[in-house]
């Protein structure tokens, strides 16, 4: 029997980026808040201290900071006719675990998603290209809120998380040096852009020569020492090349354990319980109201029931969806009928790249910042980009980056080089310093048959069904990637490299190996209509009004951009809505 604890006002499930933001925003108001985090507590010192944090094998290969798939994982299949099998190790994506969550080990790329192509996706494509342009099996939908409603929260996130970059659009005026296609900002970013590198400079020159509009991407890597509005102190980025998959020893990364969590925990009414694995949100007999959550202390195995006035799910996107399914909140999605919503519109991202080799250049690939990149947005944010002619929905950014050439993972050699032996060694020794990549990051539109539900066979360490992911790339994805990787190849060719890898135009199934991106989205999507979304535009469950779901699980599709900007902005907005609306009058807000 679970030990029943004293009721609190708010339970947060997960204490990473969104949980940290919401706890901080709700703190100081007398609310009793308990944050339940499945992993351990981590601090910059000693957890991210040099030299141990520079251990590529431990952190980047064995995934020391990530979730442990021996305890809980998901099952995966390409199509509903296949048998899903467990993802026995992490591979394609790396969900975090522990205080700070994936916010500790992200790279920091921070975008504002697009007012039209993202927030009004269905309306935009229907309006410009006609209803028939959207395939019948693509359940594209609008978010139900406008960019203007979200813009102040983007700014709040950027100032709290030390984002470095140059505005490309201030109050509607295009600014030199930034992304001319980005949505308007009211203020400059809090820090100037990162120092560029040879790779980003060469990409930028080539792109400009071809008539494109390159810019240095906004990054939550502090380009200078910085103090955020709450007083959190950030160091300057050292371009150490150990960002994604690592914690930052310089406190230069916009990580929740620096930016928000210490300020939340100043309030004695905010209590953090680590190693606390939430297995279920318990509802009343009518299924309309959450009474409590059940969790297991994974250090002792003891089970507890924590009653709460409201429950806010702040886990990683996959975890939020899993817990909604396990708790029976909202109707599970059924791809056969298209009815139900929980698990619907799971999306990912579709990446491509070409590698360039220059006999006469030295790139020092080990010098880099997590999100240091020069990219172009001409084939995505640019509203003049003609999807009708290109023949697909969505777009991509294309760019060159200097993120960190750690040698177990990064050793490019020209096509035709043997895989081993002295000739391979000579090629590795020669080209390690002399190559760079141009990558493409494409949006991923929803598909009727890409979804999450509960697996009928496999179970986690708590005896619960694993979540089952059914997912594959679609024709729209391949058309997008083929188009983009050929653009990347053209830009690469114009740089006159000694060698260049040809664009990869294979249309292979999605694979759990190798690593691609941790931009998993959807499953608890937001919307203005109850029939087609899990949460309303306030991120409140349509079915259980005292449950909110925050994170990338609420996106109805995946943009070409990294998701953390809108994840952070939506978390700030939800905190405001809870403070200003919900707590004053608890109940359905829409």
């Amino acid at each position: 029997m679970a030990t029943k604890l004293k009721e609190v006002d708010v339970v947060l499930v997960g204490f990473g980026l969104t949980g940290g933001i919401i706890a901080k925003e709700l703190s100081g108001r007398g609310l009793k808040i308990v944050a339940l985090e499945r992993g351990v507590k981590r601090e910059t010192n000693p957890d991210f201290a040099v030299p141990q944090i520079r251990d590529e094998l431990r952190y980047a290969v064995r995934n020391d900071l990530m979730m442990d798939t021996a305890r809980d994982t998901l099952t995966f299949r390409h199509r509903a006719a296949d048998t899903a099998l467990p993802m026995r190790r992490l591979g394609a994506f790396l969900p975090g675990e522990g205080v700070g969550g994936a916010g500790v080990h992200w790279n920091g790329a921070t975008w504002r998603w697009l007012p039209n192509r993202d927030q009004r996706a269905r309306s935009f494509y229907e309006q410009h290209f006609g209803k028939a342009f959207i395939p019948p099996d693509m359940p594209l939908q609008d978010w139900g809120i406008t960019y203007d409603e979200l813009a102040p929260y983007y700014e709040k996130f950027e100032y709290a998380f030390a984002v470095s970059g140059k505005a490309g659009n201030l109050k509607g005026q295009v600014q030199p040096g930034g992304n001319p296609f980005e949505p308007p900002r009211q203020r400059e970013l809090p820090l100037p852009p990162l120092q560029d590198s040879l790779a980003t400079e060469l990409f930028g020159q080539a792109a400009r020569n071809l008539g494109y509009h390159p810019f240095i991407v906004a990054a939550a890597n502090a380009s200078q020492a910085y103090t955020n509005p709450d007083g959190a102190k950030f160091g300057a980025c050292q371009y150490c090349g150990h960002c994604e998959r690592f914690g930052c020893e310089a406190n230069a990364k916009g990580s929740p354990h620096i930016a928000v969590i210490p300020f939340a925990l100043r309030d004695p009414n905010v209590e953090l319980r680590t190693q606390s694995w939430v297995t279920k949100v318990n509802l009343d007999s009518a299924g309309k109201h959450a009474r409590s959550v059940t969790y297991t202390d994974v250090a002792t195995g003891e089970e507890y029931e924590q009653p709460a006035g409201m429950v806010i799910l702040c886990a990683f996107a996959l975890g939020n969806t899993h817990l909604m399914l396990l708790s029976g909140i909202g109707k599970p999605y059924d791809p056969k009928t298209g009815k139900g919503v929980v698990g619907k519109n799971y999306a990912y991202q579709v990446n491509g790249n070409v590698t360039l080799f220059f006999e006469d250049k030295v790139f020092n690939p080990f010098m880099g910042a997590g999100a240091l990149a020069s990219r172009i947005d001409d084939f995505h944010a640019n509203e003049a980009f003609d999807n009708g002619r290109a023949g697909f929905i969505g777009g991509a950014t294309i760019g060159g980056a200097s993120s960190g050439g750690r040698p177990i993972g990064y050793r490019p050699v020209p096509p035709g080089t043997p895989r081993w032996g002295s000739d391979w060694k000579r090629a590795t020794a020669k080209w390690y310093q002399r190559s760079m990549a141009i990558s493409t990051s494409s949006s991923n539109m929803p598909n009727r048959y890409c979804y999450c539900d509960l697996d009928p066979t496999y179970r986690n360490a708590f005896g619960q069904p694993l979540m089952r992911l059914t997912y594959n790339f679609t024709e729209n994805d391949f058309r997008t990637r083929d188009f983009m990787v050929q653009k990347a190849y053209e830009i690469g060719k114009s740089m006159n490299p000694t060698h260049i890898t040809p664009p990869d135009l294979r249309h292979d199934d999605f694979s759990l190996l190798p690593y691609q991106t941790t931009h998993n989205t959807g499953g608890t999507i937001m919307g203005a209509e109850r029939a087609s979304s899990v949460v309303n535009t306030y991120l409140q469950s349509w079915d259980v009004a005292n449950v909110f779901v925050v994170g990338a699980s609420v996106f109805p599709h995946n943009s070409a951009y990294n998701p953390t900007g809108p994840v952070g902005a939506l978390a700030y907005r939800t905190a405001d809505i809870i403070k200003e609306k919900y707590l004053k009058r608890p109940g359905p807000l829409a």
């Binding site: 030299p51 798939t69 371009y239 040698p407």
Partner: protein, 239 residues
């Protein structure tokens, strides 16, 4: 390349003349034939083998031969085994990773599509053991002797056959085993020497990777398009 007595041959020989293998001091690594002074210094500073915690004598001979074929001694580095790559693999297999740490191990077991990832019931240690045995059996059936005793040319044929999936092994995928052993070799070669491979940071020197000191905020400007030639620093150098 210098011919040298393999570890297994040495031990067998000693055993035949009646000495317990366990008390025999490990033979010094015969230096390869490096062409550069640096490689010579690196090789000569590897005085003794360190012994194995998991691999049997037969398995150790296989792994040494495998890492030496992938990473031969030449003007750039000493051989894979002299760089500690067999030691690295041995320790990884006997440690947490080898025993299945972070590996979801519940059944039922089915071989799915390649995109569904690793689906065998075996831990990495069990998988390497099975893979080594299967390659050695193939090698005996085809060439009459185990992999480590093949000529260089025949070893290459076997490795290429595994890599290109033209060799089928009994009960497991040769390509899957080759890729796993290849990845482990690369981890040992390019990872921090604290794990037993990449001795003297030889692989980092080979490519010009500076290691764990990575304060590059000004270097990224100063060394733009210029070699940043510093002696690499490892975790043990700073602890």
């Amino acid at each position: 390349m210098t011919k040298r007595v393999g570890r297994r041959n040495f031990l067998k020989h000693v055993a035949m003349v009646g000495t317990a293998a366990a008390v025999v001091p490990a033979p010094a690594a015969a230096p390869a034939t490096p062409a550069t002074t640096e490689a010579q210094q690196t090789a000569s500073s590897v005085p003794v083998r360190e012994g194995y915690t998991f691999l049997t004598v037969t398995e150790a001979a296989f792994v040494e031969a495998f890492v030496d074929a992938l990473v031969p001694a030449d003007e750039l580095t000493p051989s894979g085994s002299d760089l500690g790559l067999a030691t690295f693999i041995d320790r990884q297999l006997s440690g947490a990773w080898g025993k299945g740490d972070r590996l979801y191990r519940q059944g039922p077991w089915k071989q799915g599509a390649p995109g569904q990832g690793y689906q065998l019931p075996l831990t990495p240690a069990e998988f390497f053991r099975a893979g080594i045995d299967a390659v050695n059996r193939y090698s005996k059936e085809t060439y009459g002797k185990e992999f480590d005793r093949l000529t260089s040319a025949d070893k290459q044929k076997v490795l290429e056959g595994l890599d290109k999936s033209t060799i089928m092994l009994d009960r497991l995928s040769g390509k899957q085993f080759f890729d796993a052993a290849y990845q482990a070799t690369m981890e040992g070669l390019f990872g921090d020497p604290i794990y037993g491979g990449n001795k003297n940071k030889a692989a980092w020197k080979m490519i010009g990777y500076p290691g764990v000191i990575a304060v590059h905020a000004t270097n990224i400007v100063t060394y733009r398009n210029k070699q940043y030639a510093v002696p690499p620093v490892s975790i043990a150098d700073l602890t």
